[in-house]
């Protein structure tokens, strides 16, 4: 059962991700954030619902679209924004950028921007967690584009073979850069692709925070009990283009109507309405929560902006 506190925590997480991404859009035009940004607007329910089930020692591996995963897992917001600005106290010391976020303390050992690259790495982390005899799990986030990669099949087979504590989370937003899923996939069945490897799959509405939470809970508890890996396909939609703050419906691969349809199913709006209906949130508490998070994000940007540039001597540091 989700408590009121759990629900408010999830709503805050989802809203914090949204506010962060919106703020990036607001300032991106100034060209002071000199790193490509792959925004998570529209997909917030997934990282939020999955992470609500995770503890610090669980490990997540993320992609080029990593902001939401990082924040939901408890990654440090200020250091993250400083990383966007290429500052010394960025979470990766300014050497990573938006696609390479890390917070070791929070169980985020680094994200990778090679599509599919994080999947076997998460699998290896799951092997390590198993070898150490813990009940902790690894999560591999990836998109529908990574579902095209052979390494996903290799990794699911290995995870099934070794009964690893891993959850493969596919965020199907239908587009790999600009290529539509059904132009790339023979069938619309990502969640079924683990079946032949003993990786049971489930399809979930990726815009429904609590649906994701419950689906992930089942998979994560199963992994903690030593019963092996699972695959979750969460169908969702990214509002912005593949990269950058613009909506790219002018490019011809998707229509305004399609985008507007998904906006009607905004995960944050849907969850807010649900929590209002349940009496978990009311106008007053909602406004307070918003104000608090808006301020938190503003402070993070100020912190980043005022932070020092990366010292030139760091160029040759961290080599070996």
């Amino acid at each position: 059962m989700l408590t009121k506190e759990n629900k408010l925590n999830m709503f805050s997480t989802a809203y914090r991700i949204r506010r962060l991404e919106e703020k990036i859009c607001e300032v991106y035009g100034k060209q002071e954030i000199k790193t490509p940004v792959h925004l998570y607007i529209g997909e917030e329910a997934i990282a939020t619902g999955v992470s609500q089930n995770l503890v610090k020692e669980d490990l997540i591996f993320s992609t080029h679209r990593s902001h939401g995963h990082y924040l939901a897992k408890g990654g440090n917001l200020k250091n993250m924004v400083a990383e966007f600005y290429g500052k010394e106290n960025g979470c990766a010391g300014g050497k990573g950028g938006s696609m390479h976020l890390i917070d070791v303390e929070a169980g985020i050992p680094g994200s990778t921007a090679i599509v599919g690259g994080g999947i076997p790495i998460a699998t290896g982390a799951a092997l390590a967690l198993q070898l150490k005899g813990t009940d902790k799990v690894a999560v591999a986030y990836f998109g529908d584009g990574a579902a095209d990669e052979g390494v996903l099949q290799e990794s699911m087979n290995f995870a099934g073979l070794k009964n690893l504590p891993i959850i493969f989370v596919c965020e199907n937003n239908f587009y790999a850069t600009n290529s539509f899923q059904m132009k790339r996939h023979a069938d619309d069945n990502i969640y079924k692709r683990g079946e032949c490897y003993k990786v049971p799959g489930e399809l979930v509405d990726g815009n429904d925070v609590e649906a994701v939470y419950h689906t992930a809970k089942k998979a994560i508890e199963r992994a903690r009990r030593g019963e092996g890996p699972s695959l979750i396909e969460a169908k969702t939609y990214r509002w912005k283009g593949h990269v950058g703050p613009d909506e790219d419906t002018n490019l011809g691969h998707r229509t305004n109507e399609e985008l507007e349809g998904w906006k009607q199913r905004c995960p944050i709006k849907l969850y807010r309405e649900k929590l209002f209906k349940e009496g978990v949130l009311d106008e007053g508490s909602y406004q307070n929560l918003k104000r608090e998070i808006d301020n938190e994000v503003e402070e993070a940007f100020e912190f980043a902006y005022k932070s020092n540039d990366v010292p030139m001597e760091n160029m040759y540091k961290h080599l070996f």
């Binding site: 990573g96 890390i102 090679i114 999947i119 998460a122 290896g124 087979n157």
Partner: protein, 348 residues
């Protein structure tokens, strides 16, 4: 398999008696040294595990992992699916989560299926995250040769990896270094490509029983000389040693350097030797263009030009895929004679 047997027999053709630089009072083979290193690492560190295609079968990676799965259990020493790419990512992930994986490829050629994980991931992680996390992965791979190994079972691809910042590349030529550098790689904790040559597996040498490590980035003068410097790696150290003997009979005193690790590279030992001899032959099993020999030649031109009295000579494989037919294959590989001829040209 008979193939393996015949390769082992061919190995007897290599006539050298070079050894590690310690007298241990005990002689074992390169194969046994590798096995002993992994055995001791598994025994002394619960974070170490060894895996790869065939580590627990009858062949057990040409004997170099023999019996380890029985001794340490199949959770720590295990066979794998033929999923080289994922299994390399598994090493990276396990390392990030605190383990010390040793992944083995029976042939170096198979490494080409894994370069995304090696170059895009293992190599960049420590630097790109400003040193917050290390990737202590060891990838063992064996260079094959002979009996028609052909273009996909014999490639010596060290130059590809030598090019990449963020990797270590070790090429032990002796049993002493095989064990000591394996120990060094695990102690060091950075991603290491550990390149072995199949023809070295029966080579015997002095190896202490107790664990020890060989310092990376420190080459070794195998034979001292004053007329010409020969820089070599792996099996070419042995070919070169044969050449040095022949040359000595002709009155040419060649100095032979075994680099042991090419990344890090011991530039000093090369430059110091060239300052003394003024002539340099560099030899490796890679291809002629863009190889390790090329890069060392360039380095000496930049940093030791005033010492050079003759142009640098490279003795390498020609720029062609490895041919399979016996006569072509025999002509393809650089030999002791090729090294000796290069030296004679410089000293004439």
């Amino acid at each position: 398999m008979p193939w393996t047997k015949i390769l082992a027999e061919n190995n007897k053709l290599i006539d050298t008696d070079i050894d590690g630089d310690k007298k241990a009072g005990r002689e074992i083979t390169y194969r046994e040294a590798l096995l002993e290193a992994q055995d001791q690492l598994l025994a002394n560190d619960s974070k170490v595990f060894v895996y790869g295609e065939g580590v627990d079968d009858a062949g057990s990676i040409f004997g170099s992992t023999k019996g380890l799965h029985e001794k340490y259990g199949i959770k720590r020493v295990f066979d794998t699916p033929l999923s080289e790419s994922a299994l390399t990512g598994v090493a990276v992930g396990a390392a990030l989560a605190g383990m010390r994986p040793i992944l083995v490829h029976m042939r170096m050629d198979f490494l080409l299926l894994t370069l995304d994980q090696i170059i895009n991931h293992a190599a960049i992680w420590h630097y790109s995250f400003s040193g917050q996390i290390k990737v202590p992965v060891i990838i063992r791979c064996i260079v094959g040769r002979g009996w028609g190994s052909g273009p996909q079972h014999s490639q010596s691809l060290e130059a590809l990896l030598y090019h990449v910042p963020g990797l270590r590349v070790y090429m032990p030529a002796t049993p002493y270094d095989a064990k000591g550098l394996m120990m060094e790689a695990v102690k060091d904790g950075h991603p290491t490509i550990f390149i072995e040559h199949r023809w070295l597996y029966d080579k015997k040498g002095q190896v202490p029983e107790a664990p020890y490590s060989v310092e990376k980035g420190k080459g070794r003068v195998v034979v001292e000389g004053s007329d010409v410097t020969i820089v070599a790696t792996s099996l070419m150290v042995h070919e070169s040693a044969t050449a040095v003997k022949k040359l000595a009979e002709e009155g040419i005193k060649a100095e032979l350097i075994d680099l042991r690790t090419i990344k890090p590279l011991d530039e000093d030992i090369i430059l110091k030797s060239v300052a003394k001899t003024g002539k340099l032959v560099v030899t490796d099993y890679g291809w002629h263009t863009g190889g390790v020999a090329s890069s060392i030649s360039c380095m000496v031109s930049e940093k030791g030009f005033s010492s050079l009295r003759k142009p640098v000579k490279r003795v390498t494989c020609p720029d062609i895929p490895t041919p399979t037919a016996h006569n072509l294959e025999a002509a393809y590989y650089p030999s002791a004679d090729d090294v000796a001829n290069a030296v004679r040209e410089l000293c004439s």
